[in-house]
Structure formats: structure tokens, C-alpha cells
Symmetry: none
Subunit: 434 residues, 2 copies
């Protein structure tokens, strides 16, 4: 049997950035002291990847799915379901991410004043949510369940015959804009759009004069008078990562969204002590856990969130500090087991100057024995632009990982009924009965 490498895929959230004045026009990766990543860059291979496509800003869910080798055009179930999964909410119907928000009326239209209703407090939100627990829409044909989770956040689940997740967002994603009409994206979603519309009007009538909101207004707070919906989605029926790529996968993550994605792909999920999903997370604890898991698994996805938090805070100096703390934690990877491939990249760029995800390319580092050469010597955007992995999209990532972990099967070879392109583990094969 061939020796095949095990893989650690480290996703540093929001990696990749633009120059910042406060860093003397360097990027955070350029400005940070990251000797371990630099050493891996010098010995390894760099490249640039667009997680979805050039110029397309990924969401955290879609960026990950694309990098994990799922075809977004065909397999993306919508965002709501990952958020719901991450909050432990599972529904069988159509799930929407929902925000308590503040709107005002103007000429028969609603304008979004605050998409989070001043981050409405738990007690107020719970009281308001209890009014919306079970509503029947379209003459009882559709049941609506609203689930409140944290602060202004919640989910709406619609259940009934003939529903579809192909409806547009009511949330305009910008304050000062109108609340939008829910529109069907195809004919099968007409009924769902009508149900959403009815839910919005009923809930608005219930919320706008509710005593909780009257009290909030009296106290000078923003009323939580509207439920903004977005990300309609259906529970995913995604092929498990293991049967798609032949790995036995584990995830090390703290952020709820990332655990939700990993669970949807049937990774075994670990949340080590000290990992918080924030800039102060114990990154070393995650790397130690990943190395331990190599005993039992051969693909370890490790997620580190702090960099993205710093970027959303528009704080390049914080991003530098987080990168430096991550780098310290990576020291054990610089001298890895002989059969380990280390891959470091991000699920999207989050330039600190924008404070949001962008469609910029993201640096990638492959590190392990016996890789091709390139001229790169530091792990930052400029060296990655001319690295030996070239430029590619996220949809190629798993193929490159199979290749550099010596698992890629020559095109046209078929140990499986469907083309999969990897060397199968022995237990995946179907032996001839004699």
C-alpha cells in the first residue's frame, strides 16, 4: 500500500489584506513577526486562491464549502441553515436567519433604522419572541415557528407542503434602505413568498405596539418592532466529506458557524479548552489538539477566527498581534511528522480598511516534505502572488491537497462507481465475492 500523507488544513479566518497606513502601508501579514510561517513559506509552496471566484466576496459558510470541494452553484443550501445548525436549531422546513430590528414607516413603506434593534436585550427579546412562537399562515397551510437565540438573533422555520427556499431576502443588508418585498426566485417559491409576506405583516402588527416596545421607546431605546429575514435555506443534504474525498476528517473549532459547517459535512468536531473563537483564543491549544487527532484522523481542519474579528474591527494592529500569536502556536508544525502536509489559508480576505469580506485573493501555503520549489521566502500577499502554486479558485483546493498528500488518483482510474479521483482507504473498497 502506498504511503499517503495526513493533512492539517488551517483556515485563518479573513486572512489576506490590503496595506494600512497605520502599518506604514504594509499588510498585516507583511507587518507581523511570523518566523514560523515565514520558515514554512521559504521551504514550502505559496499561491493565491479565490475561494469562490475572482472578485466574489465569500460568506464564511460559502467560502468554507467551496474550499472543501462543494459546488456552490449546485450544492449551496443557503446560509440560514448553517447559522441554525451552529445554534443547535434543526428544522425540517425552510429556515430563515431572523433579526429583531427597528423600522419606521414612510409613505406606506418600511425603512430599516437599525438591523439589530440596538442589540435588544435578552429579556425583551424573549418576551417578544414568545408572542411569535407558533403562527399559522395562509389559512393554516403553513406553520411558522420563530426561535430566539442570542441578543437580536433568531430563526424562522416555515413548515408545510410545497415550500421552497428560493425566496429573496427581506433584509436589505443596509440601514436607511427599505424593507424588501419577499420575491420568489422560481415558480415553486410563490407560496413561500406569500407566507413570508403574511408573517412579516402579522409580526409587525404584533410587535409595533407591544408593551415591551412602548417601554423601550419611553426609555429612549430603539423598539424591536420588526423581524428581518434573510438566507432562506433548506436542511442540507450534502455528501459527507469522507465519502467525497476519502479522508477521515476531524474539525477543531470554537466559532458556532464553523462547527455547524463541519457537522453538516460529518466531520467529528472538537472544541479544545481555551478556544474561544475570539482574538484572545488559545491557539496553541488548538494546534496541540490537531496534532493529537492525527492519531485517529487523517484530515484535521483547524479554524482560527481572531484575525477576522480584528479585520471587522478595522484594526490592523490587532490583526498583526493575532497573527503573531497564531504564529507562535504553529511552532510545532515547522518540524512536522514525515507524512504530514500542512496547508494554511483563509476562507476569504477581510481587508481591515473595509471591515468586511471582500473578493480579494487569499494567500495559501503548502508545507511538507518533497514539494515542488518556488522562490517565495515570506508568508505574505506579495510572495504569494508569484508563488509556485499559482493562482486558482477554491474549487481546486481539495484536488491540490489530494495531489500533495499523494492521494490523487490518475484521471480515468475507477475503483468506485462514480469518479472521485482519490486513492481509497481499504475499508472504502468493495472486495470481489468469490
Amino acid at each position: 500500500m502506498r504511503p499517503m500523507r495526513r493533512v492539517i488544513l488551517l483556515i485563518i479566518d479573513g486572512l489576506g489584506d490590503r496595506p494600512s497606513q497605520s502599518l506604514k502601508w504594509l499588510t498585516p501579514l507583511q507587518a507581523a513577526e511570523i518566523p514560523n510561517m515565514d520558515l514554512m513559506a521559504a521551504k514550502g509552496l505559496l499561491g493565491m486562491q479565490y475561494p469562490i471566484a475572482p472578485g466574489v466576496p465569500p460568506g464564511s459558510d460559502s467560502g468554507h464549502l467551496s474550499i472543501f470541494g462543494y459546488d456552490l452553484d449546485k450544492e449551496y443550501p443557503g446560509r440560514g441553515v448553517f447559522e441554525a445548525l451552529s445554534e443547535g436549531v434543526v428544522g425540517d422546513g425552510v429556515i430563515f436567519r431572523a433579526n429583531f430590528s427597528t423600522v419606521r414607516e414612510e409613505n406606506g413603506k418600511l425603512i430599516v433604522v437599525d438591523r439589530r434593534a440596538g442589540r435588544v436585550e435578552k429579556e425583551d427579546a424573549s418576551l417578544l419572541a414568545s408572542e411569535l412562537k407558533d403562527l399559522y399562515l395562509l389559512n393554516g397551510e403553513v406553520k411558522a415557528k420563530f426561535v430566539h437565540t442570542l441578543e437580536h438573533r433568531g430563526f424562522l422555520i416555515l413548515e408545510g407542503e410545497g415550500l421552497s427556499s428560493l425566496v429573496t431576502d427581506v433584509d436589505p443588508h443596509e440601514e436607511g434602505y427599505y424593507v424588501l418585498e419577499p420575491e420568489p426566485i422560481d415558480d415553486k417559491a410563490v407560496k413561500t413568498a406569500e407566507a413570508v409576506r403574511e408573517f412579516l405583516l402579522i409580526s409587525y402588527r404584533m410587535l409595533k405596539d407591544h408593551e415591551v416596545n412602548r417601554k423601550r421607546i419611553a426609555e429612549g431605546k430603539l423598539p424591536a418592532n420588526f423581524i428581518l429575514l434573510r438566507g432562506a435555506s433548506s436542511p442540507p443534504k450534502l455528501e459527507p466529506f469522507s465519502s467525497r474525498w476519502g479522508f477521515k476528517p476531524a474539525a477543531v473549532a470554537a466559532g458556532p458557524m464553523y462547527k455547524g459547517i463541519a457537522r453538516a459535512l460529518e466531520f467529528e468536531v472538537f472544541h479544545p479548552p481555551g478556544a474561544t473563537g475570539l482574538p484572545d483564543s488559545d491557539f496553541s491549544s488548538k494546534i496541540r489538539k490537531a496534532l493529537d487527532l492525527l492519531e485517529e484522523f487523517d484530515f484535521i481542519y483547524v479554524h482560527m477566527k481572531g484575525t477576522d474579528v480584528a479585520s471587522h474591527n478595522k484594526d490592523p494592529q490587532q490583526k498583526v498581534r493575532v497573527l503573531e500569536r497564531i504564529d507562535l502556536a504553529l511552532e510545532p508544525l515547522t518540524d512536522p511528522p514525515e507524512d504530514l502536509l500542512v496547508v494554511i489559508t483563509g476562507d476569504h480576505a477581510t481587508p481591515c480598511s473595509l471591515g468586511k469580506h471582500s473578493g480579494d485573493p487569499v494567500p495559501v501555503l503548502f508545507y511538507g516534505r518533497g514539494l515542488p520549489r518556488d522562490d517565495s521566502s515570506n508568508f505574505h500577499e506579495l510572495d504569494a502572488q508569484v508563488g509556485g502554486l499559482g493562482w486558482f479558485t477554491g474549487s481546486s483546493m481539495m484536488r491540490l491537497i489530494l495531489n500533495y498528500s499523494d492521494r490523487a488518483l490518475e484521471y480515468g482510474l475507477r475503483p468506485f462507481p462514480r469518479p472521485r479521483g482519490y486513492i481509497p482507504r481499504i475499508e472504502m473498497l468493495n472486495p470481489l465475492k468469490i
Copy 2:
């Protein structure tokens, strides 16, 4: 509401070239003194794009359409229609670009002697064209209208039931070659091919002994005895640029083809004084117009043709001079308004050594505040090959423009029934009716 940048997209026709001996084996971009473009390259981002796909030479129409984000496989209507639009010819049937040409008979075949009939004079062409104004073909089932425009140029419009633009060119595109049989590309075009065949024979009979041609021959001129057809196409039903990408677009162009494309996409089209579509064009007048238009529009497409003319003339030194004159005109863009993104590229490469369009990559420059970094310092092919935009195809251009003008919407967000990927202008949204 978010600040979003406005965009000037400058298409320098036939940009990108190969080394020339007369330029000491430099390319025209390398040999030219272009301090303004160099400054923008040093501060901005470079890359290489294949307008259609690696190795595929674009036509002026198809290169533009691809860069503007239209899927050529599904949306390309054929070339004739853009040429017709640019001449103000609009037809409902199948439109062919048509040339008065000179042919001679040899063994019952026709050989093309001059594809332009010695660039036949206007008066002669008009007289001949009047004979061909309305012909009925296939027992009256198909009506043929020939429209003469300038010199040897014109259009043939076929109208009738069951016609298709999927017929091959009669024009061999080379002198000394046979006139070609019109062939249907699929079954639905059989009738059209027959109608074309009949038109060619009838018109040839009418033209070859016409008194105008007898006079031309007597004067030692080439007779305009044949109508060469090419570029069969149907009127395009292209989605307007504004609804596809969310911009309010204007075009600054002088060449008829480019105005035709812009009109087909519902750009508002401006032809400033002094702009000629030739190497002597007043490039400054175009840039000043573009800057003025930023008051009213947020996407200005500026077309400059002179470089391509020099390339077709196989004159690298002329191309250098045109590039230097264009560069002078670009001075106001080097210190642009804070919210302006400047993009400079070509619709295809036209290497002077070939004198025709090629499938070579074309340099791209993005310039504005807050872009990512790269190591490029000059605007030429070699720096573009290792720039921070990487290598991409024209189909990614608009996504990259959305991204770097802060207009790209995160994947999965859906303010519209169909995914469009841009932040909509408020007037494009459909507010909830309450």
C-alpha cells in the same frame, strides 16, 4: 448607506503586444515613455487577462462583450448586428455584414480578387446598391434588403419565416481564395443558407454586367461585381448593463462598432469633439468628457482605437507614439477623486508583428485608493505577468471591478430574485408593500 466607488474603464484597443526588432526587441508598452501609466502601475495593481479564454483571439465585439460580463457561449448574437447597429441599421431578420467586392470566374468557381472592390467610390456603390434594395428569394418566402453604408460596406437583411443566423461566411477572409458555399450550421439554418445562395447568384448576375461596372473596367478600376457576406447574426436581446451590474453606465467612443456595442447594452453614448477613432484622435477630449460624466453616471467606458490601427498597420513605432499621446491624456487620472476606480486594459492584443488580433493575454491596471499591493512598477507585459491581480479571463473582469469599487455583495445574499452579486442602487429595490 455605504460609499461606493465610481469607475472609469479605459479600453485601449489592441493593447498588449510582442517584442519588435525596430523597438530593440521591446514591446510598444515597454518602449513608450508613459510616466502616467507607470505611476498608476506602481501605486496600483497589475494583472493579465485573456478577454475570452487563453489563446482565443477576440473580435472587437466579442472581446468587449466578454469583458462587460456577458457569456459569449449563451449570449453572443454574431458580429453583423453590432456593425449594423453602429451604422444605425436595425433589422428584425438575419443580418449579414456585406462588402462590395471583386471576383473573377475560373472553372465555374469564383475567386476573390479584392474583398473591397478597390474601396469602391460612394457614387458607384450607391447606384449599384439601388438595384439590390428589395429582392424576393425562394419564391417570395424571403425578402432580402441590402443597405449600403460607407465605401464598400453595407448590410444584408433577410426577413421571413424560419430563418436562422447559423450559416457560415461566404467571405473566405483572404484574397485569392474561392468564394465559399453558404452552409447551415444546424438543421434550422438550411432555408437561410438556400436564401443566401440565391441572393449571391441573383446579385452577381445583376452586378457583373452592370453599366457602372462596365465603366469601371473601362477606366481600369476593379468592378464591384459581388456581395461578400459574413457575420450572420440576429438582433441581440442582451440584458442591459445597468440591470446586470447595478451601474448607471455611459460610453465615450468614436468608432462606430464601439458605439454600437455600447448602445446594444443601453449605455448612454457620447462622442466628444475631436475624437476620431483613429491614431490622431483627441484623447484628452475623451478623458475630460469621461471625468465630466462622473457627475451623472457611475461607470464610464472610454474607448481608444488608435493603438489597434497602428498594430494592424504593423507599425510598432506608430503604436509607441499613440501610447505616448494617450498617456499624456491620462494625467488627470493620476490624482483621481477619492471615490474613483480607474481600470485600464484592452479588448484583445494586436501584436504588430502579426497585424491582426491574437489570443495573447492583455495587461490590466487597477488604480485607486486602498487597493491591495503588488510589486509592479511599470505598465507593460512583464510586470503585468507577476502582478497582484494574477491571471484571469474577461468573464471575471466585472466581478473584480465590483470588488475593487466596493460594490460586491457577499455570496448568498439575495436582495434580487436572481443572484447578481452587486449592491443595488436604492431605486433598483422593490420595497415591501404594507
